[in-house]
């Protein structure tokens, strides 16, 4: 409220209380918009194709959502704190390449493929966290805009991967693939492993954001960094940690993604950054920072992959137009959520 009131006589307080209560009851597009959108899509999907509403298809959609979904949970923290990370797709590609190279190298010396895979997974998480902290360090101590830092690493990560792969693909050894496969293809109680992990990361993210001091600080910094600084919040440390957290999320997503194809190539994770950012925004998080929701983000991610699933199952709109339809949805959601000036 840039041109807000400079003063108010006390009687106005009563009126303020009343209108605030009214506002609470009013339909809040940030909270319910994504849910309504998803429900509408589910109805459309069911109407268009009987295969859509099956358990198998639903699990298929959720499994495919898991990668972007997990990354968008981390992205949600970064965006709420007022930052951005454009590099996550390239980062995922480089982590994938790096962990495959490491696992292939260890396969000779370490006997058990399971141990090799476990070490590879650990490496992926550490690498992701390290990349994230490096971003955070450049942004806070180096005082460089997050957009610029991660635009730079977007290029660096993918170029290094391409160089490591010599322009082709880095492929996981066969026996390792067999040991690693269940991480993507396995399921527990009828629900695929990636969906369980997505769920766990979502719950952890929601608790972290809403029930810890760290989460409150993230929101306070995004809402107004100066106020947070004056209120004795260690702004730099909190920001650093949001990027570290996002890096770990990218690591987790990569750990789930690698066994799917068993290889990394220059096109791995291409445009994931845009999908992750889109999921966060569609989920009702303000691009300017300050407020956002993990549940909304999860719904946003699912909504985007339901769109491509419907296009795959039906022939009304060509699958090639997938990104176009998603783009229209993103703009439409942003339109519904816009604030009056």
């Amino acid at each position: 409220m840039p041109s807000g009131p400079t003063s108010a006589p006390t009687p106005a307080t009563e009126a303020g209380a009343v209108s605030a209560r009214k506002a609470g009851r009013r339909f809040d597009p940030h909270r319910f918009g994504p849910v309504v959108g998803l429900v509408l899509l589910l109805i459309v999907g069911t109407a268009l194709n009987p295969d859509f509403a099956t358990w198998d298809n639903m699990m298929n959609v959720l499994t495919r959502t898991a990668f972007i979904g997990i990354i968008s949970i981390g992205m949600c923290f970064v965006i709420i704190s007022g930052g951005i990370d454009l590099s996550v797709g390239s980062m995922a590609a480089l982590i994938a390449g790096g962990m495959i190279l490491l696992m292939n190298a260890l396969a000779g010396s370490v006997g058990s493929p399971v141990v090799v895979v476990a070490l590879g997974m650990l490496f992926a998480l550490l690498l992701g966290g390290g990349f994230g902290l490096a971003h955070g360090y450049l942004i806070t101590r180096g005082r460089i805009e997050p957009f610029i830092v991660t635009l730079g690493t977007l290029g660096i990560f993918r170029a290094v991967l391409t160089w490591l792969a010599d322009g082709g693909a880095i492929t996981l050894d066969n026996d390792l693939s067999d040991a690693y496969g269940p991480v993507y293809y396995g399921s527990l109680l009828g629900i695929p492993v990636p969906v369980w992990v997505f769920l766990a990361v979502s719950v952890a993210g929601a608790v972290l954001l809403n029930r810890t001091a760290f989460g409150r600080y993230v929101q306070a910094i995004g809402s107004n960094e100066q106020v947070a600084r004056f209120a004795a919040v260690d702004v730099d440390r909190v920001k650093l940690l949001t990027y570290g957290l996002l890096g770990v999320c990218v690591g987790i997503a990569t750990v789930l993604y690698v066994p799917r194809l068993g290889s990394a190539s220059p096109t791995t994770g291409l445009l994931w950054e845009l999908e992750a950012i889109a999921a966060v925004i569609v989920g009702g998080t303000s691009f300017k920072g300050g407020e956002g929701r993990i549940a909304g983000t999860v719904i946003g991610a699912v909504l985007l992959s339901v769109i491509s699933n419907i296009l795959n199952l039906t022939s009304i709109i060509s699958v090639y137009l997938n990104a176009a339809v998603q783009g229209c949805v993103i703009i439409a959601v942003a339109f519904l959520q816009r604030r009056r000036p």
């Binding site: 106005a12 605030a20 107004n224 106020v227 004795a232």
Partner: protein, 500 residues
């Protein structure tokens, strides 16, 4: 040539908050009107309505008898009404001439006619006594020069009514004299002037008539010649000043709670030394730009320091950020409540507990524990408003009480308040004064930075006056008067009571 303005039952609401309550008075052509009122009296809002920046919620604005409704400031400009902003509204990266014609560029066909604009600008600038090249970038001007540019720009638009909001806030005495001379000339040319200022001596000197507002209402008007400064102050505050302030208790004599020696914040404060005792309310007076706020931002570690020492309770400290300050028992509430004090879009509870979240985490945050803290603060500080709403739903006074409560949550030994009653109505002001006295009575050291001299005089045990980055004087309670403080602040009695 001049124009007659009549306000009739003007009200203005910002969301739930009503800041003007049916204001009605006239502005007479060709006179200089002093518009008086404390912070938050509604002066600026009313003048923004007159200049087309805000629309009134209800009520009528009449210009020469005709009801008008300005859609924007351009509409008002067309009627000859120009507001010169407190924060001057010039684009730093453009030249003087470019600024003067911004939005009104002279064109020849498709292209800008730079030469015509420069010539006309130069002519208007000469009339106001601005003697620099119109191609100078505004960035390179000092504040007084920017003000002249603003006035010249208004002249260029044939202004018939000029509103000046605190024009002397950052001017030196000689620059003020030049401005007053210019105002005199404008009046002779038939321009109506509304002059908003806190400095009653200036109002006495240059206005024909004073109009007083309080809490969003018109209170009184009278010819300046017949109104004493004492009378003006009483009208502004709305009650006898003696009733506004709590009795002063003498602070403990003994070891200082905080001792600052030779502190230098490059560009802002030089060689500043002072002591603060337990139970003491220490005031900081000075003109805008004298370095008071920046001195304390330096102590907090928000600006680099190049020398000096700070001791709190006998321990030398070198604070790097507000977090370390808080751990050492020092908190600072900024003058910029919306920019540095409160998260206006967040709830009351989240604002209150932000500094002490660790106390409510085990390790997950306990909303019940936070609610108890809020409940306690609401009763303790008399915060009125919806506890479930956002901070922005509170009135200015209640926002300030919430902000004070927030910075007291860590239980500081030393509490610094910068402009503690800015944008606060009279009732809340009195509450805040009594609260400050209570904090001091509890044995805390309280530092009050303020531009309201009445407030410093009524509240403080001692007042340090800063001028040009240095401590000009330390004035004890028995010598506190507006004349004394102003004299030190602008440097007209250098050396008489020098305190360091």
């Amino acid at each position: 040539m001049s124009l007659h303005v009549a306000f009739d039952g003007i009200t203005k609401e910002f969301g739930p908050v009503r800041v003007l309550h049916g204001v009605g008075f006239d502005l007479h052509p060709g006179r200089v009107h002093g518009l008086l009122g404390e912070n938050g009296a509604g002066k600026s809002t009313l003048m923004k309505i007159l200049a087309g920046y805000h629309a009134p919620t209800t009520g009528t604005l009449r210009i020469d008898g005709e009801a008008v409704r300005f859609r924007n400031s351009r509409d008002a400009e067309q009627r000859g009404i120009v507001l010169i902003h407190q924060e001057l509204s010039l684009a730093d990266d453009l030249t003087v001439a470019q600024n003067m014609f911004l939005g009104h560029e002279i064109k020849r066909g498709w292209l800008l006619d730079d030469r015509a604009m420069r010539d006309q600008a130069a002519q208007a600038l000469r009339q106001v006594g601005f003697d620099r090249d119109p191609d100078t970038k505004v960035r390179d001007l000092i504040v007084a020069e920017k003000q002249l540019v603003e006035i010249a720009k208004a002249q260029l638009r044939n202004a018939r009514l000029l509103i000046m909001d605190e024009p002397t806030a950052s001017l030196t005495p000689s620059e003020c004299d030049r401005l007053f001379g210019l105002i005199d000339r404008l009046r002779r040319d038939g321009v109506t002037i509304v002059y908003i200022s806190h400095k009653l001596d200036e109002v006495e000197r240059i206005t024909d008539e004073v109009i007083v507002m309080r809490d969003g209402r018109f209170v009184a008007r009278a010819p300046t010649a017949e109104t004493s400064r004492q009378r003006m102050a009483t009208l502004m505050v709305g009650r006898e000043l003696t009733d506004m302030f709590p009795a002063k208790h003498s602070p403990a004599i003994g070891k200082p709670l905080m001792a600052v020696r030779g502190l230098t914040v490059p560009g802002w404060a030089e060689e500043v030394s002072f002591d603060l005792h337990p139970g003491e309310i220490l005031g900081f007076a000075g003109l805008v730009g004298a370095g008071r706020t920046e001195l304390f931002e330096g102590i907090l570690g928000l600006r680099p320091r190049s020398g000096g020492t700070v001791e709190i309770e006998g321990r030398p400290v070198s604070l790097r950020n507000p977090r370390e300050a808080m751990r050492n028992g020092l908190t600072y509430l900024s003058e910029d409540r919306k920019g540095k004090g409160l998260h206006v879009n967040m709830g009351l509870r989240d604002n209150l507990t932000l500094m002490t979240l660790r106390h409510h985490a085990q390790p997950l945050l306990s909303p019940a524990s936070e609610d108890r803290a809020l409940e306690h603060a609401v009763t303790n500080f008399g915060i009125r408003g919806n506890p479930q709403g956002t901070a922005s739903s509170l009135s200015g006074g209640n926002q300030q009480k919430l902000a004070i409560a927030k910075f007291l949550e860590p239980d500081p030994r030393v509490f610094v308040l910068d402009e503690p009653t800015r944008g606060v109505d009279v009732g809340a002001k009195r509450d805040i004064y009594f609260l400050i006295a209570r904090l001091a009575a509890e044995g805390r050291g309280v530092i009050v930075i303020s531009s309201e001299l009445i407030e410093l005089i009524g509240l403080c045990h001692r007042v340090i006056v800063m001028r040009g980055r240095r401590v000009a004087a330390t004035v004890p309670a028995d010598r506190l008067s507006e004349e004394e403080l102003i004299a030190h602040a602008i440097g007209t009695n250098v050396g008489t009571h020098a305190g360091h």
